[in-house]
């Protein structure tokens, strides 16, 4: 397994170094910022008791922003809210239940039971649960565990949520872009690329020459469709996640369900393409026989840690980027001064630019690691 060529690429190295350096700078600047804020913060919290609650609110807001939702929220709160309600589809004990999310969103504290198709449900923080028989201390029909997550049973939620809409938009965009390019290739056969084709061709070639070929050797052609699909799917969704308004704004690649699905695809491809050599490496590793009881479980765990690492890496990187941007914006509200915007907004722009790079790098890393894992599964003989 030779990754040196990835790190040899000067361009990528430069980007990574500058990204690390800049992030470090920003973090130190941020630390200073919070230090400065410390002094008035203490006095204020002594005078103003609900301040604690306010801070809790901000972390709640940030988590709410990066989480999925049953509506596409544009602006405004409460009565002045402008949002597009999305269809809710629930597979309940009584079969499918469907309604528009705005029908039951006026009470999301779980204090009110509503009925759809004879099925009693409650809305607790935008999620639908079966109600408990008795109310808890706050008057809600839920029972919370230590992390304030309801332990209630819930129907299978197949709703077209914000993330699902964003997913559909990205899928449609990808289909339109790449079928039109494919048409251009057919029409202008053997000619120089033009327009959109010339923008995306270097990236397609990048996937082929720098990701697929080095990892998969001559077998690269069979896996090109998967690698290209994964790369452009992840990249486009990373970029769409950075757009703060419609059609972006959904944190799709920062959602663990999506990264899990992608990692699972790579895992399945690796497993079904694994040859004798690959499985031999797992069950008869090149160690003395008495190490087998240790090595075989390690190798089997290794099979699963690879896709899990893929899943968590993409999820954590994208979510972290979103949290960072939201936190910087929230500084304005934490410090309760518009003047902070003078510092926070340039930082947000800065981080957003870095996120653009991270969006590409994470797509690249997800794809190259997928290619690497598949390559390990299909290589003819161990090279050590």
């Amino acid at each position: 397994m030779d990754l040196s060529h990835i790190f040899n690429s000067k361009k990528i190295l430069n980007i990574v170094f500058s990204a690390v350096f800049i992030t470090a700078m920003i973090f130190s600047a941020q630390a200073q910022e919070t230090k400065k804020a410390e002094e008035p913060h203490v006095t204020k919290s002594e005078i103003n008791a609900p301040h604690e609650e306010k801070e809790e609110d901000i972390s709640q807001t940030i988590l709410h922003h990066i989480a999925d939702s049953h509506e596409w929220h544009f602006w405004g709160e409460g009565e002045n809210k402008v949002a597009v309600p999305l269809p809710v589809i629930l597979w309940t004990n009584n079969g499918f239940v469907t309604f528009l999310s705005n029908k039951h969103d006026h009470n999301d504290h779980g204090t009110e039971i509503f009925e759809e198709k004879g099925q009693q449900l409650i809305n607790y923080h935008g999620k639908y649960y079966y109600p408990n028989a008795v109310k808890n201390a706050e008057g809600a029909y839920v029972e919370l565990d230590e992390n304030a997550v309801p332990t209630n049973a819930k129907p299978l939620d197949l709703s077209i949520t914000k993330n699902v809409v964003s997913l559909f938009i990205s899928v449609i965009l990808l289909l339109i872009i790449f079928t039109s390019i494919a048409k251009a290739y057919k029409k202008r056969e053997g000619k120089a690329p033009k327009g959109l084709q010339s923008i995306l061709e270097p990236i397609i070639l990048f996937v082929r020459d720098d990701i697929a070929k080095p990892q998969l050797g001559y077998r690269y052609a069979a896996f090109m469709p998967y690698l290209l699909t994964v790369f452009f799917f992840v990249w486009l969704n990373n970029l769409m996640g950075l757009i703060p308004f419609f059609p972006g704004g959904a944190n799709l690649t920062g959602n663990i369900a999506v990264t899990m699905m992608l990692a699972l695809c790579t895992f399945i491809l690796t497993t079904i393409n694994g040859n004798k050599n690959y499985w031999g490496h797992v069950f008869t590793p090149h160690v003395p026989w008495w190490l087998y009881p240790l090595m075989i479980p390690v190798e089997i765990i290794g099979l699963f840690t690879k896709p899990i690492a893929l899943m968590i890496r993409l999820f954590a990187n994208i979510t972290a980027g979103h949290i960072l941007i939201l936190s910087l914006i929230s500084l304005i509200f934490i410090l309760k001064s518009v003047m902070v915007a003078g510092i926070a907004v340039p930082f947000v722009i800065f981080i957003s630019v870095i996120e653009l790079v991270v969006g590409f790098i994470q797509a690249f890393i997800f794809t190259i690691l997928s290619a690497l894992f598949i390559g390990m599964a299909v290589q003819e003989h161990a090279e050590h």
Binding site: M224, T229, A257, M261
Partner: protein, 170 residues
């Protein structure tokens, strides 16, 4: 599931998982069939055709170079041949001149020899004639002298006597 349930952020939502699986697989199959296949094929074909064109250009260049060098060689050969011919012509000319000279010399020598022999012959003939003439003339002169001498009888008698005296001695 208890570990994953710690934070709603890290607990995968089954609905989204199902939708994303469906959407991603659909995207994968549609793009594979309608986009990646023709695109990858077109790229490969174009690369191959560019490579072909480049190798053909290279071949043409080599051909040209070969032709040029061949031409040069031909030219060089022609020049060498021309020099050779000129040299031969010069040699031939020299030889002809030389031959002409030697033959002229021998011819001249022969003619001179002939002339000398003729002159000699003529001289001998002339000398023989002069001898004849001198002999005749001397005979005539001797006759005339003798006649003059032997006009008187006594002188004749003395001569006979002298001659007789000589005989007696023998």
């Amino acid at each position: 599931m208890t570990i994953l349930a710690l934070n709603p952020l890290v607990s995968p939502d089954p609905g989204l998982f199902i939708w994303s699986t469906v959407a991603f697989l659909l995207l994968f199959f549609l793009l594979s069939k309608f986009a990646w296949k023709p695109i990858v094929k077109a790229l490969d074909e174009r690369e191959r055709s560019i490579e072909d064109a480049l190798s053909k250009a290279e071949m043409a260049k080599e051909e040209m170079a070969k032709l040029t060098s061949e031409n040069e060689q031909l030219l060089k050969q022609a020049r060498i041949e021309r020099d050779e011919i000129l040299k031969q012509a010069k040699e031939l000319k020299d030889q002809i001149v030389n031959d002409a000279k030697t033959s002229a010399q021998t011819e001249g020598a022969k003619m001179i020899e002939k002339a000398r022999i003729e002159i000699n012959n003529q001289k001998i003939a002339a000398l023989a004639e002069v001898k004849d003439q001198v002999a005749t003339l001397s005979l005539q002169i001797a006759e005339k002298v003798l006649r003059k001498q032997f006009e008187d009888q006594t002188k004749q008698q003395t001569l006979v006597n002298d001659l007789l005296k000589e005989v007696k001695l023998n």
